[in-house]
């Protein structure tokens, strides 16, 4: 297997793009990534997306986007793993390069969530859960996360206010990210006063529905300097699964697939949690941020919230998370999110994170599909 590097990145601003279609957003992000790598074409495209069929009446995204890039002819397919689609697309691209089947590959993610009313989008998002036994009972995706949060608070003696530092940190970091949806800080008082969606989860525990696309260009590591002055090495890529339904988990308070994919990633990279300088995790809801920190070894069981309360997740803390705003502040265009995480980690490692710059040589990303059924972990490193 060949080693793989990231040599180009592109992203659209995240937000409500009433005037932009699925193909417009995809093409813009990918053209920016190709320009960043100083190339006009690639050998293959893997595009992560969850709901284009339901929300934009468009499937067959691989061929569609390749066509509109002017690159019809190349291998191109859509990769779907619910909200983990973007991370899965990057992993598919990395595997294609590592195997020697493809040389220069585009891994992208796109989602267009504002085409329909929000209750309609809420219904389709619930298709990431068990359709017959969760969604059919009137369980939204938020409701499923609320069930986890309620039980977590009960077992660990916490109050919902204790989760505020996750949202406050995400918004504080989004201020400095020109691509973020919510470029404004929030206070703990605002967090406490927020309106419930599915109690105890409120609007300020939740990442927003949004439109957006992001892309990276991958190539064999030994050719990376042809395309970039600051190539970033993919030190690890791992994907693991768990039961789709929350009720089928052995332990509803532990992300087993998060643990398993992180364990494989640490082994591939030959590192542990202490060697990671920043962590772009999947804060779709504040509870998911806590569980992700616990699954990856940054906190003991039940201690993820305490880590946040002690300020260790900020840009100056022991393990900075959501350094460009996370899902909460940047926005969560579901199938694109995993690629935004990779793009942001590359910005940090290249020294291109502007006001949000952290001294970092090694970054980790973790992208979660459903309530934890698919979890993709990547570790990226600088090459100097």
């Amino acid at each position: 297997m060949r080693e793989v590097a990231i040599v180009g990145i592109g992203q659209t601003p995240v937000g409500e793009h009433w005037d932009r279609s699925l193909r417009d957003l995809s093409v813009q992000a990918i053209l920016d990534a190709l320009d960043d790598a100083h190339i006009a074409r690639a050998d293959a495209l893997y595009i992560g997306n969850m709901l284009s069929g339901e929300l934009a009446s468009q499937e067959h995204l691989g061929a569609l986007v390749a066509d509109h890039l002017g690159l019809a002819g190349m291998e191109a397919i859509k990769i779907e793993a619910a909200c983990g689609s973007g991370g899965a697309a990057v992993r598919s691209g990395a595997l294609a390069v590592a195997s020697g089947q493809q040389d220069v590959v585009i891994a992208a993610g796109v989602e267009k969530m504002t085409e329909m009313s929000s209750n309609c989008t809420t219904r389709y998002l619930a298709s990431a859960a068990d359709g017959d036994y969760e969604a059919a009972q009137g369980f939204s995706f938020v409701a499923i996360n609320a069930l986890i949060m309620q039980r977590y608070m009960y077992e660990h003696g916490l109050h919902k206010e204790d989760f505020a530092p996750f949202a406050v940190n995400a918004h504080a970091n989004a201020v400095g990210n020109p691509h973020a949806m919510f470029r404004r800080p929030i206070t703990e008082a605002q967090f406490r006063a927020a309106k419930p969606i599915c109690a105890p989860i409120t609007l300020l525990d939740s990442s927003p529905m949004a439109d957006g696309a992001a892309a990276v260009i991958l190539c064999p590591l030994d050719r990376a300097r042809e395309f970039s002055e600051r190539p970033i090495r993919i030190a690890a890529s791992a994907l693991a699964t768990d039961t789709v339904a929350l009720h089928d988990r052995r332990d509803v308070l532990f992300l087993q697939a998060g643990y398993e994919s992180a364990r494989r990633a640490y082994r591939q990279a030959g590192v542990g949690p202490d060697d990671i300088d920043l962590f772009e995790l999947h804060d779709a809801f504040t509870i998911m941020a806590a569980l992700s920190l616990e699954a990856t070894g940054f906190a003991e069981r039940g201690q993820g919230v305490r880590l946040a309360q002690e300020g260790e997740i900020t840009r100056r803390g022991r393990i900075p998370i959501c350094t460009m705003g996370g899902l909460k502040g940047r926005g969560h265009p579901v199938g694109a999110t995993g690629v935004y995480q990779i793009v942001e980690a590359v910005q940090q490692l290249r020294g291109q994170a502007g006001d949000n710059q952290i001294e970092a040589r090694r970054a980790m990303t973790q992208n979660i599909g459903g309530s934890g059924a698919t979890i993709v972990t990547h570790i990226l490193e600088t090459m100097d």
Binding site: S117, S118, N119, C120, T122, R123, L125, A126, D130, D132, Y133, E134, A135, A136, Q137, G138, F139, S140, V142, A143, I144, A146, L147, I148, Q150, R151, Y154, K195, P196, I197, C198, A199, P200, I201, T243, A245, L246, H247, D248, V252
Partner: protein, 130 residues
């Protein structure tokens, strides 16, 4: 639209019919054809009693399409007395009374009415035990 799907789920929706592993005795709801504990494919049907207690709960204020008319409603994970957790709504209960550990029992109730074809979908919910 999906009438066949609702018909197919009738034994689960009305009778809590799941499965039990003939190899290791593991009880499953929803039903499965492979035991997740021992990989045995010797699986038999098993009807759950419908008795359980609340394991976790939430009040839904913003519902998915098809359930808007019922907000606020309580969604819960119920620990069935035979072992499995089940995802179901609670009914005949005040929101303030709901707590982890509350003993509940299964009842049959309307889940939703489908606007497009007028189909009324019935299934299990759980109410406090007296």
């Amino acid at each position: 639209m999906d009438i066949a799907r609702h018909w197919r789920l009738r034994d689960q929706r009305y009778n809590l019919q799941g499965t039990v592993c003939a190899g290791c005795g593991h009880k499953m709801f929803p039903p499965r054809v492979v035991c997740p504990e021992c990989r045995s494919r010797k699986i038999e049907t098993f009807e759950f009693s419908g008795q359980g207690e609340v394991y976790s709960h939430t009040v839904v204020y913003q519902a998915p399409e098809g359930f808007d008319a019922y907000v606020p409603y309580v969604a819960a994970l119920v620990r069935l007395e035979e072992g499995p957790l089940i995802s179901a709504q609670l009914t005949d209960v005040n929101v303030d009374e709901v707590a982890i550990g509350l003993p509940v029992e299964m009842v049959t109730r309307k889940l939703t009415e489908q606007e497009e074809n007028g189909l009324i979908v019935y299934g299990y919910k759980f109410r406090p035990r007296f």
